[in-house]
């Protein structure tokens, strides 16, 4: 049964190039303000990694006409607010009571137009320290926390902007200079490189008027040139990293279709049928039947320039990564040879249908409707893709999913990373080279 699932909206582009997208949802007296800048760690250069994210922190410290921390007035208005940076984009959002919408627009527009006069070396230093602590907390002091750094570095060559993680290298963060902020802001933080979505208790005409009023005066900047980069892995790379962990874990990573490219939705379905839930092929074999592993996960990490498909499984006490890897390979081979079964495809589609519906529940925040509209607008140039996005899953077939497995999950073009307890390198897959990350 096919249900119409839609995310209706209106879009206009201001003369200075700012895209404005509006979605009306009157159920709760709140409005979500969501602003994307099409800049992320992919716009950084080697030696200065982590800059885009550190810059995001500075956006909360004040702007010319409100030269203090941004949280004070917005929390006073009852707003929830946050921001985040990934390899491809930086987003900022507020969820405000309807009656405080103008405050959020005032503040977002002030930091878009007038950030630099408020920045000081002292604020820069403090946020550098905060980010170094964010890195310690979420990467250095967390079990398996350095895995993605090692995998990204192996999947992408040093000059490829996905070679490093958004958090950046600690040495790079320490080496950054306050002066770099100015050029970065001018290059990326302007209307022509931004997209504003408003969702919630507001009508489109009023929203466009407000957007024009608050953002219309900000000078158009120059659209940055698109980053282009190629990457491939031509062999099987085997690495080992020792960490403060109890149980060894094996990661497998492959290059996979870029976001929205042919095969991207199929890779997402593949991840589900391999490792989501007890019915999935790998969970059932590794954790349920053979009890070789305590967990298994799979994920199509869709990104703008290129994606990667990541599988991970943690060994049960006393079990070997070699045996786990052999089972995974055998199951992937079967999937590539025979494709998914009918029940697997039915299940996958039922879950995709439901998940698209779940995505319509909130107007704001990470993953809310405003965030989704901006994602479609920034990555596809058109916010009108929600229905087509689901259509990609509806159109996937056992044949196309099997073909995606065959084409991308090749054993001779992947990165295998073993993470093992300190001093126990012998637990790694045979032939693994020690890798160091910091």
């Amino acid at each position: 049964m096919t249900t119409a699932i839609a995310l209706p909206h209106a879009k206009r582009t201001l003369p200075n190039g700012l895209d404005v997208i509006v979605h009306e949802d009157r159920r709760v007296p709140i409005v979500a303000v969501n602003l994307w800048y099409h800049v992320g760690s992919k716009n950084e250069r080697s030696g200065r990694t982590g800059f885009a994210h550190l810059f995001e922190h500075l956006m909360f410290e004040g702007s010319e006409h409100y030269n203090k921390g941004y949280f004070f007035p917005l929390q006073q208005a009852g707003a929830l607010l946050n921001g985040s940076t990934n390899s491809d984009r930086t987003n900022y959002w507020e969820v405000v009571p309807t009656t405080s919408l103008e405050l959020a627009l005032w503040m977002e527009s002030d930091r878009m137009g007038y950030l630099l006069p408020a920045l000081t070396p002292e604020r820069f230093e403090t946020q550098r320290g905060v980010v170094l602590n964010e890195r310690r907390q979420n990467y250095e002091n967390r079990p398996y926390g350095m895995a993605l750094m090692a995998i990204s570095a192996a999947l992408y060559p040093p000059d490829h902007p996905y070679h490093w993680l958004t958090i950046g290298a600690a040495d790079d963060l320490r080496a950054m200079e306050f002066e770099d902020v100015r050029a970065f802001f001018r290059a990326y933080y302007h209307p022509a490189n931004a997209s504003l979505a408003l969702a919630g208790d507001i009508n489109a005409e009023r929203a466009f008027q407000l957007a024009e009023g608050y953002f219309g005066d900000i000078p158009a900047g120059e659209k940055p040139t698109r980053v282009r980069a190629e990457a491939s892995v031509a062999r099987e790379v085997r690495l080992v990293l020792e960490d403060r962990v109890e149980l060894p874990r094996v990661y497998m990573a492959w290059h996979s279709p870029a976001m929205f490219a042919e095969g991207d939705a199929e890779a997402d379905l593949l991840a589900d049928l391999l490792a989501n839930g007890k019915t999935s092929r790998l969970y059932r074999t590794l954790v349920y039947d053979k009890r070789l592993a305590v967990d298994v996960s799979a994920f199509q990490h869709s990104r703008e320039l290129s994606s990667f498909f990541l599988l991970a499984s943690t060994a049960a006490p006393g079990q070997s990564l070699t045996e786990i890897a052999a089972v995974i390979d055998e199951r992937i081979q079967a999937l590539a040879d025979e494709g998914p079964t009918v029940p697997e495809m039915e299940r996958g589609l039922a879950q995709a249908e439901a998940h698209f519906m779940y995505r319509l529940q909130t107007v704001g925040g990470f993953g809310g409707k405003s965030d989704q509209l901006n994602a479609y607008n920034v990555f596809r140039g058109d916010p009108d893709f929600f229905g087509d996005d689901l259509g990609r899953y509806r159109q996937a077939t056992a044949k196309s999913v099997g073909a995606t497995a065959r084409k991308y999950l090749a054993f001779d073009r992947r990165v295998l990373l073993s993470i093992v307890p300190r001093g126990q390198a012998a637990f790694a897959l045979p032939g693994s080279e020690p890798v160091s990350v910091s």
């Binding site: 709140i30 007035p73 208005a77 009656t99 907390q137 962990v245 006490p317 299940r347 439901a354």
Partner: protein, 461 residues
């Protein structure tokens, strides 16, 4: 279209707060004693069922820590003719999100699905809850996965800290452990323990079903009746766990300082606090406001000091862990190793200051009240949010009017109230300061803090 250009000389003043109305909660009690609450939540065609059963981790008896959670985990491991795999398949076929939460006083089973699968979802949930298969092989596997998980948690500083902190707060009380329990207790548990615990606690008379979704009250009740009307079972005196909320707590009378060594750690994970208040205290609104000022929001005194002024941490939070019985107040953060002792000293100073040295100001009060009240409606955007909120009413015996009274109650708090509750419910004289971090680097500076003799705990906390 008339465009008014922005005036940047001042911030726009917010308009009057929108009126907040919580949707009607309809009450039913089925013949078997099951309490049913329904709420209509139109818009997105989804439905959420939350079954809240009395008896969370606090129902674990001594030596059986982890039993409630292990029992809850067995619920989706097969029922009737369905194997564990079949249950997983059935949930996937209706695109369901299934989630279990073992709290201190109750366990929640939540199932969300498309509204057109509401009846199927409720039936599935009822079969899982009423007649779980509890096969021996499944029990062994699930228990072993929990033992392995506990082993992994010894590498995770926040988990090590939580575990050790609970033991210190509740040295001989049923709240004194994580839901997952301990390796020794899990190893000693048998399938019969789980079967017995299920029989004595999974009873309609101990449960509340909350159904929220894009259906009418009548439809939701009919679905609940069809799915759960046949649930039977009565409390059998001796087997019923004593309510943990009634157990005697020791509030403590002197400060304690403890380290769980983690050599070479990049940061120290900190827990600073003590037992404080029950959820049903009449001082709940002023405590929320006081906490917001101290450490409950980004612009709190603690976060402004430790993050925005000193850059010791990515963030710091304080809060009450609300329970039916006496629950803790604690400050939680992870700080750069070199800043460990200073972070504890700063935290204790902020607590002391709020109790009188530097009491809350009128501006701080109004900011805290506004941030708690003005955005309040956004807490009820999804069916799951509404269902879990209604669950809180049942758990803590709060009136249905509670949500609509929240804003006026918080706005009635005064500066004097904040100082009074800070003095009553926070006490540096009996605070427990726990560090999971590098002992060698931090020991000297910690010993000079004067917040208790430094004691070292084993690595498992």
């Amino acid at each position: 279209m008339t465009i008014t250009r922005v005036d940047r000389s001042r911030l726009p003043a917010p308009g009057p707060d929108p009126q907040f109305r919580f949707p009607e909660i309809v009450h039913h009690t089925l013949a078997n004693g099951l309490k049913v609450r329904t709420v209509e939540h139109p818009g997105v065609p989804l439905v959420t069922f939350v079954m809240q059963i009395d008896g969370g981790l606090g129902a674990d008896s001594t030596g059986r820590e982890g039993l409630a959670a292990l029992t809850a985990d067995m619920v989706d491991e097969g029922t009737g003719s369905l194997s564990a795999i079949d249950v997983s398949d059935a949930l996937a076929r209706i695109g369901a999100e299934y989630d279990v939460e073992v709290g201190a006083d109750a366990t929640l089973f939540a199932l969300t699905t498309l509204a057109r699968f509401a009846a199927r979802g409720a039936t599935l949930l009822s079969e899982m809850l009423m007649t779980p298969s509890m096969h021996g092989a499944d029990f062994e596997r699930v228990r072993q996965l929990r033992v392995d998980r506990l082993r992994q948690l010894t590498d995770l500083p926040p988990a090590v800290a939580e575990r050790a902190f609970l033991r210190l707060l509740y040295p001989s009380h049923p709240y004194g452990h994580l839901a997952i329990g301990s390796v020794e207790a899990l190893r000693a548990l048998t399938r019969e323990d789980v079967v017995r615990f299920h029989a004595s606690t999974f009873l309609p008379s101990r449960s509340t079903l909350i159904a929220v979704g894009a259906l009418s009250h009548a439809d939701l009740v009919a679905i609940a009746e069809d799915a759960f009307g046949g649930w039977s079972g009565e409390e059998q005196g001796a087997d019923v766990p004593a309510p943990a909320a009634d157990a005697v707590v020791e509030m403590g009378d002197s400060p304690q300082l403890l380290v769980v060594p983690r050599e070479g750690a990049a940061q120290s994970e900190l827990r600073i606090g003590h037992l404080s208040a029950r959820r049903n205290t009449p001082d709940y609104p002023p405590l929320l406001v006081m906490n917001a000022i101290l450490g409950g929001q980004f612009v709190s005194r603690l976060n402004m000091k430790l993050r925005e002024e000193k850059a010791f941490t990515y963030g710091v939070r304080s809060g009450f862990d609300w329970r039916r019985g006496v629950g803790p107040f604690s400050v939680q953060t992870s700080v750069h190793t070199a800043a460990t002792a200073e972070s504890i000293a700063d935290t204790l100073k902020e607590i002391s200051d709020l109790r009188g040295g530097r009491p809350a100001t009128a501006d701080e009060l109004s900011l805290a009240q506004a941030s708690l009240t003005r955005g309040y409606p956004r807490n009820f955007e999804t069916a799951q949010q509404v269902a879990r909120s209604v669950g809180q009413l049942a758990l803590f015996d709060l009136p249905d009017s509670y949500f609509e009274q929240f804003v006026p109650n918080v706005n009635a708090v005064t500066v004097d109230d904040v100082t009074r509750v800070a003095r009553t419910y926070l006490d540096p004289g009996r605070v427990i300061s726990l560090v999971v971090g590098d002992r060698n680097v931090t020991e000297a500076s910690l010993s000079g803090l004067g917040v208790g003799e430094l004691r070292v705990l084993p690595p498992t906390g």
